[in-house]
């Protein structure tokens, strides 16, 4: 069996760009749907990825582990790709008697990281979001449309933003980011 290969195979561009744009390669992703206020769910999430269930419209991270609020009853958990099976087993075991859905979606979504001083501006070109510091501080997460496709966006660090999209759209999204980040196209707004 060959190694898993993500849709963009870790493609990276940064030369002559206002930001570094990189597909993150295989990333463990779990969709957890359930009652996010339930103590067992909270505990299971913490146990699986090492962070608390995020509050609405936020994301929390701890190394490779992380959790992104997706809706009232859905979080996206992030972990190492090769530990996904064990994590899912652990979650299912911990939530055995609860009405939850735990799904491996590691291969469903591509994760693209945009880093650098121009990253925020790039977000504002693609999505109708308010990405000002006041409205979108580090740790904020949104589901929105970006370059005409559905995405999740979160601000991981001051100048580190991540976008997830269905992997079948990843080439479109990456090409779009590439075209929109050419150095000369900077807006100089923020």
């Amino acid at each position: 069996m060959s190694d898993p290969q993500t849709v963009l195979n870790g493609e990276l561009v940064e030369r002559n760009r206002s930001a570094r744009i990189e597909e993150m390669g295989p990333t463990g992703q779990i969709t957890l749907r359930g009652d996010l206020s339930n103590a067992a769910v909270k505990k299971a999430v913490k146990g699986a990825v090492g962070v608390d269930v995020p509050t609405p419209l936020t994301a929390t991270f701890n190394g490779a582990g992380g959790a992104v609020w997706m809706s009232q009853d859905e979080v996206l958990l992030l972990t190492e790709y090769d530990r996904i099976g064990a994590k899912i087993t652990k979650l299912n075991k911990a939530l055995d008697n609860h009405h939850v859905m735990v799904l491996d979606v590691s291969d469903a979504r591509a994760v693209i990281r945009v880093t650098g001083a121009g990253a925020r501006e790039l977000m504002a070109k693609g999505a109708p979001l308010d990405v000002s510091d006041a409205a979108f501080p580090v740790g904020t997460a949104r589901r929105t449309h970006f370059a005409e496709i559905a995405v999740g966006i979160w601000r991981r660090e001051e100048e580190v933003w991540e976008i997830v999209c269905f992997q079948s759209y990843a080439q479109h999204l990456f090409s779009w980011l590439k075209a929109s980040s050419v150095t000369g196209a900077s807006v100089g707004y923020f």
Partner: protein
């Protein structure tokens, strides 16, 4: 000819010279010039021919309201027609051509229209409607081609645009549109509160009229005050400033569209977008867009050299250009005297001021008289003399047009007063009121103002856009509006006071809508109202005379205000003339609707990045690169691109499809089925939920088994189908059509969230998690075994419609034994990151078995051979499962499911509904066109149709053309021959048969 004057020209840099082209002639200008100012500096007053009559036309204005100076700019992939010279910044190498003339600007054959028009009113109001009614054929063959050749403005570009464009989204507390005195003051007042403020200006320079008109603000000249205030705003961290950025449209709840011209003044910069469309969400918006001067309506007021009085001042003060050497000014207000004074001061001869008012005794007129300039009151221009340039004017007392005398001049500066620019305010619902004393429409928030999502007013006009035309009142209004906007946005403005403004006091204007003339000019056929669309005062009066009472109807009848300038100069004059003729007050006639964009914006800006390879988001499977390398001929399916077929050397589509089908039926085929929608449904109530969603029973499905299911909407019409797999006791996997996954997922969530929120069920769209491959054909099992499979997949261990999880060729796999081709068939799903590798492994394993990939067309033909329906072919939103012979899949036992009640309605149960049938053409090789209608008899007039073809193919398996059709009472007509009248009087006959053409008993798949 150089018309530059010394000591003027605030915006230009005379130390540098730029070279540009106009109609092939090389001319010179300076940095800071607009194309219009540079043309005027070179003595080019005439810049185009008019739309209908091809009359010579010259530059009238100095801003976006310019109706005449529309030029073609650039060349090849950067050519763009209809660009206003007044808003085009000059750059080295600029190429421009005038429009709407042939063979040349100076001699134009189309001007014959004008000659004819001077005798009979050709092209007068409603001319097209009246003249071209009969005979009908004449329009198409005679009038239309002639008019098309003669009319029209610029030429469409021939080459694809090579520039890039983009969008940008921002959210601000206060958006201020317009960087003149009012905008600057309002922005500063608002920003003093700490609110995030975005101030934009459409030109490259801040200041608006404060740069050209004499005013003292806070002890500083206009330009000095602007410089100081902009520096102050730039120093504020909560303020962002943008020039070359126009407010293009205002929409509901504080959404504004701005148009930034990033590189129009320096084209071809690598990587830089040409235009950027800003999509702004503002809590509060201040529209400080200023005012536009109105022309006066007098005979021959369109001769090149008749300009707006303010434009003449602008060209002088900003660009150091005197568009004429001897000037007559005609006005109905004091403001125009500023032009007289400015020209006089610059050493240009002012031949006379012709004022339509009975007296002119304000500060400015008095100053004018004291400078020795002749002022005529109660006078008007009865005619402008000259054809391609002004040679003089005839003036006469307003009460005695025949008592005229000539004044020689080469420039006429006119002013009919000012109209606040209420366009943006009106876009988003702001209402207006006609103010009699100042003769203008001004914002009237009490009659209706734009509101935010909270129902509170969120948009305000400020300064002259709000009707405060005098600088001191303008300033006071702007500061107050700025503070109020900040407060409304939730901030507390500092107690900012308006700075003192010292400006000349003005006497009121007197409305003046038509200057009488004599002889052939008496009727207004040469009194131009709309320069761009060639509409005269006579046209407007004719419309009124013919019964057009509504300004909206008159607009369409005469084309007044319908040109690319949307009547910026003509609207008020036109409707005043209409009101006068109708004998009604102006407010009763009303104004036409203002619509975005404020001035035309590029298609590129609207498109943004969505052009070329980014035109549309395309979904690709993980096998897509392999497909591309191996002759795939793609077709779009939803957002997906799927191989229609894989063409080999020398093959056309048809040959490839036939080969793929025969190989699948004889050996084995491989289909990329990754696009198939996949939705996970989990929870203790999952079975119950799916029983409600599907027409058939799903709760009884055993774990590890698959069942084909149908989904109806609540009207009983079929909208999606697919195989449902029970993965675990409380978990199902739903397969949907490729294009339907998102809709089906939305449908499930909607019902769960709005109606059945008590059901314990979760869903997730997992389409992209899996790459899926169908292996179909007699040798399918052998191929999978050759690839290496951990599980026993023999017929007994893995029977038809069953499912296991296993490992194939080392890849984690979900293996479904399902068939859409009627062959022994498996679908293998593996996590997408293994998809490409699995595809290759199966190709390798199948090499000895003659495996070949097949595309969507082979898939379609094979399913049709088996009589399987296709959503979108056999269904069109009006077809029930019963119509398609799928009653077996509609449960009679279930208490309820979506569509159950609707399916019992009389219309859906009547016996004469169209039903699915198979068709065999009488001629085995002839394929019926898709959608062909069957008729009762071709001898009937009109022929009555009894149904239509829904799927139609040549079946290589049967060596015969086959089709499916929906035919009235189809199930009762087995064996009946149907008649299909086709194009070109051809008739095709086909006989109704069972829609299952191949292997009805299913022997091929049950092996």
């Amino acid at each position: 000819m150089n018309t530059r004057v010394t000591g003027q020209g605030r915006l230009i840099d005379r130390s540098e010279t730029l070279t540009f082209q106009f109609n092939g002639e090389t001319l010179h200008g300076h940095p800071g010039d607009t194309l219009a100012s540079a043309l005027l500096a070179n003595g080019k007053m005439m810049v185009g021919r008019s739309f209908k009559y091809h009359r010579p036309r010259g530059i009238v204005a100095s801003g976006p309201e310019e109706p005449n100076a529309l030029l073609g700019l650039g060349r090849g992939p950067r050519f763009e027609p209809n660009q206003r010279a007044t808003t085009t910044e000059l750059f080295n190498g600029l190429e421009s051509q005038s429009q709407n003339h042939w063979p040349s600007l100076e001699f134009d054959i189309g001007a014959v229209n004008a000659a004819v028009a001077s005798v009979a009113p050709v092209f007068s109001a409603g001319f097209y409607y009246k003249t071209f009614m009969f005979p009908r054929a004449a329009w198409k063959h005679v009038y239309e081609p002639v008019i098309r050749n003669a009319a029209g403005l610029g030429k469409a570009p021939k080459d694809a645009d090579i520039d890039s464009y983009e969008h940008f989204h921002v959210h601000v507390d206060v958006l201020v549109i317009g960087g003149g005195m009012a905008g600057i003051a309002a922005a500063k007042a608002a920003a003093s509160s700490g609110a995030e403020v975005l101030l934009i200006e459409q030109t490259p320079h801040w200041g608006g009229r404060a740069l050209a008109d004499p005013v003292v603000i806070d002890g500083l000249s206009g330009p000095d005050w602007v410089t100081r205030e902009i520096a102050a705003l730039e120093a504020m961290p909560n303020v962002r400033l943008r020039t070359r950025c126009m407010g293009a449209g205002m929409y509901d709840h504080g959404y504004a569209m701005l148009y930034e011209r990033v590189t129009d003044h320096c084209p071809g910069q690598v990587g830089m977008p040409r235009h950027r469309l800003w999509r702004v969400r503002a809590k509060q918006t201040i529209v400080a867009s200023g005012a536009i001067e109105r022309p006066l309506t007098f005979a021959m007021n369109d001769v090149p050299g008749v300009m707006l009085a303010s434009a003449v001042r602008d060209y002088l003060a900003l660009y150091g250009v005197a568009p004429g050497q001897s000037v007559v000014i005609t006005a109905n207000n004091d403001d125009a005297y500023r032009t007289a004074l400015a020209l006089h001061e610059a050493g240009v001869n002012v031949a006379a001021v012709v004022d339509t008012r009975p007296s002119a005794e304000g500060t400015l007129p008095t100053q004018t008289v004291s400078n020795g300039i002749q002022v005529y009151t109660s006078h008007g221009i009865t005619k402008v003399e000259g054809k391609t340039k002004v040679e003089g004017v005839q003036i006469a007392p307003l009460e005695g047009a025949s008592d005229s005398h000539k004044i020689t001049c080469d420039l006429v500066a006119m002013s009919g007063g000012w109209s606040p620019i209420v366009h943006l305010y009106s876009h988003c619902g702001g209402k207006l009121r006609w103010e009699e004393e100042s003769a203008m429409f001004r914002p009237a928030p009490d009659r209706g103002a734009p509101i935010g999502s909270d129902g509170q007013i969120n948009t305000h006009c400020a300064g002259s856009a709000n009707g405060h035309l005098i600088a001191d009142a303008c300033m006071a209004d702007a500061v107050e509006t700025g503070k109020a906007a900040a407060k409304a946005a939730g901030f507390k403005a500092k107690s900012v006071k308006a700075p003192p403004v010292d400006v000349a006091v003005e006497e009121p204007l007197q409305p003046h809508w038509f200057t009488p003339s004599k002889g052939k000019y008496a009727h207004g056929t040469k009194h131009w109202v709309d320069f761009q669309n060639d509409v005269t005062a006579a046209d407007v009066r004719l419309a009124a005379q013919e019964g057009y009472e509504s300004v909206e109807h008159t607009k369409r009848y005469t084309t007044l205000g319908m040109a690319t300038d949307q009547g910026k100069l003509s609207n008020i004059n036109g409707l005043a003339l209409l009101a006068e003729k109708l004998g009604r007050p102006i407010p009763e006639v009303g104004t036409t609707t203002f619509r975005p964009p404020y001035t035309p914006i590029s298609m590129g800006a609207i498109t943004g990045r969505s052009s070329g390879h980014l035109f549309k988001a395309i979904r690709k499977t993980r096998m897509h690169p392999w497909h591309e390398r191996n002759g795939a001929d793609f077709e779009p399916v939803g957002d997906w691109y799927r191989p229609y077929c894989f063409r080999r050397q020398g093959e056309d589509r048809k040959a490839a499809v036939n080969r793929e089908i025969l190989n699948t039926r004889q050996n084995v085929g491989l289909l990329d089925a990754s696009t198939l929608g996949k939705i996970a449904v989990k929870g203790p109530d999952a079975g119950k939920f799916l029983d409600l969603i599907y027409t058939n029973m799903m709760s009884t499905l055993k774990v590890g088994r698959c069942r084909y299911g149908l989904m109806c909407n609540e009207n009983g019409f079929l909208f999606d189908d697919g195989v449902v797999v029970r993965v675990a006791e409380d978990e199902f996997l739903l397969h949907t059509t490729s294009g339907g996954a998102d809709n089906v997922h939305g449908h499930l969530e909607e019902w769960l969230q709005t109606e059945w929120w008590d059901l314990k069920v979760f869903t997730a769209n997992v389409t992209d998690q899996w790459a899926q491959v169908a292996v179909a054909g007699p040798k399918a099992r052998a191929v999978i075994e050759a690839a290496g499979v951990e599980a026993d997949i023999s017929a007994d261990a893995l029977p038809f419609m069953s499912y296991i999880e296993t490992v194939i060729s080392g890849f984690p796999a979900r293996l479904y034994r399902i068939s859409f081709s009627g062959e022994l068939s498996y679908e293998i799903a593996t996590p997408a990151n293994y998809g490409a590798a699995l595809w290759q492994a199966l190709l390798d394993a199948g090499a000895d078995h003659g495996i070949m990939p097949y595309g969507t067309e082979a898939l379609h033909v094979m399913r049709a051979e088996k009589g399987f329906i296709m959503i979108g072919d056999e269904t069109d939103g009006t077809v029930t499962p019963h119509d398609l012979g799928l009653s077996w899949a509609v449960s009679k036992k279930k208490e309820d499911f979506i569509g159950k009640r609707a399916l019992e309605r009389a219309d859906l149960t009547r016996s004469d509904r169209k039903q699915l049938v198979g068709l065999m053409t009488d001629n085995a090789r002839e394929v019926i066109p898709d959608g062909a209608h069957a008729v009762v008899a071709i001898t009937e007039t009109p022929m009555r149709t009894i149904g239509h073809v829904t799927s139609t193919y040549f079946s290589p398996t049967l060596g015969h053309s086959i089709a499916m059709a929906l035919i009235e009472r189809g199930s009762e007509r087995l064996g009946e021959e149907l008649t299909f009248p086709l194009e070109g009087d051809r008739i095709l006959k086909a006989t109704i048969c069972d829609p299952v053409f191949l292997d009805k008993e299913g022997a091929r798949q049950n092996v």
